[in-house]
Symmetry: C2
Subunit: 273 residues, 2 copies
């Protein structure tokens, strides 16, 4: 029996609706509050990471962050790892630079610090995932899984890794890590590259066609304020907010069995006592 | 001859109009751009610190930051100094906690890192001052002055330290440090506690009454956006923005000889070759 079977997911269309990049701006946090869906993950190195609060309506994980890809806001590691930063002390601005430079021990310490920091702020961390996929270098992914297992936290494990445009050499090691992780995989539905102009239709069409299975739909909804528009891809974020506020999209979302990572974590802890 | 005399300030009403807390929010940065006055200092641990840019129209220093006094955004040191942070890894939320806990070596490393980081981003740092006065514990102030001297940077040195509500025991050591610093003092005019409801009148009355001397008028102008209003004292910041945009206030400001820290730095470097 797999975890998903234990949780009664077999034969059903099950959806974790996941808000990425929480904490990066006030505008991203406000979209989370406005939409009212519980699940998302937090970029702990951001100044607004701790502004979300945590209560019975939230289902927040750590969006493990190892890059600082925007001109602003700029992000720094919580730990001092020299291999994690550029000359000005910020995280590398691209994922390949992380893969090239990051020392595995320093990356591991940073991942742990991000989890500890969010937890110390009173957030009951429900899961881990990896911002921009920077944590998918196989040794970093292995360390992430090891840290997650030690803390009995679920990690988002994509079924469809061939969609991630990773270096070929990552593929087999990643498949081995995921196979040994004791955590079942799910299918990522990434809204990021959907057309911003008619994202509503894209959501409805894409979701309507999904067959039974466990899905992790990730979006980046943000209110298009002056602050929010500092992120170069703000139109994609606004499009997610508008689509997820739309009654037609909400109707299609309502056809899924909704799942939270808090529920996954609970089952995981029974499964791996 | 003092530096001020060298600079031709004798007998004149000279004003450094200083924008505090730059970088803390997009809204604070936008107020800086909207007002068009060159001088201010940057909270380097903030995500938006590097969003200001630096060119011939800017006169930016490091607003040395050792506290994280807002619920959000939360700030962390650039260095890992354990004595500088609370249990969640953020700077202490109050100045007395900094004074109680900060190890002088860790504080010194953090000050240097903040200067290095802003400079590495291409900002030509013109001066140093201390956010919330956390750097006024005498040994930290001494270290700040020592770092500044080594880098030939002016430090903001208040003439009127009795206005700062410091512990009595700080007074004599601070006076000694300032006397030995080789940098003349100036009179701080702090708008922070001026009435927000009629700050325009306060500016006009206060500035009109100033006699010849060198003044550092510090303000916290911010645009009152949703993001800006996350800072609990946003109304004071909005009041500064409105007052400094007012033609009557601008007329009174025009009666002063304007001074930048870039000019002070240039004179200081000739004076202490």
């Amino acid at each position: 029996m797999s975890l998903w079977e234990d949780m009664g997911c077999s034969g059903k269309r099950v959806l974790i609706l996941h808000h990425d990049d929480l904490g990066i701006t006030v505008a991203q946090n406000h979209a989370y509050r406005r939409l009212g869906f519980p699940t998302g993950s937090v970029m702990v190195p951001s100044g607004w990471a701790m502004a979300l609060g945590s209560d019975s309506t939230t289902d927040l994980g750590v969006h493990v962050t190892l890059t600082s890809e925007w001109a602003a806001p700029r992000l720094r590691p919580l730990t001092g790892g020299a291999s994690l930063v550029d000359a000005a002390g910020f995280f590398w601005s691209s994922v390949p630079e992380v893969w090239q430079h990051a020392d595995i021990e320093e990356a591991g310490r940073e991942i742990e610090a991000q989890i500890d920091s969010l937890a110390a702020w009173g957030v009951e961390v429900t899961h881990l995932d990896s911002h921009m996929g920077a944590g998918l270098r196989p040794d970093i992914a292995g360390r992430l899984v090891e840290i997650a297992r030690r803390r009995a936290l679920p990690v988002t494990m994509p079924e469809n890794i061939d969609d991630l445009a990773l270096p070929d050499v990552f593929r087999d090691p990643l498949l081995n890590i995921m196979r040994d992780a004791g955590m079942p995989r799910l299918t990522i539905v990434n809204t990021y590259d959907a057309p911003a102009a008619d994202r509503r239709t894209w959501y409805i069409d894409t979701l309507s066609q999904l067959r039974p299975g466990v899905y992790h739909l990730l979006h980046h909804a943000q209110v298009p304020t002056t602050e929010g528009r500092q992120l170069g891809d703000w139109e994609k974020r606004q499009a997610d907010l508008e689509a997820l506020s739309d009654p037609g999209v909400r109707r299609v979302l309502g056809e899924f069995l909704p799942l939270t990572y808090a529920e996954v974590r609970k089952a995981y802890r029974q499964y791996h006592p």
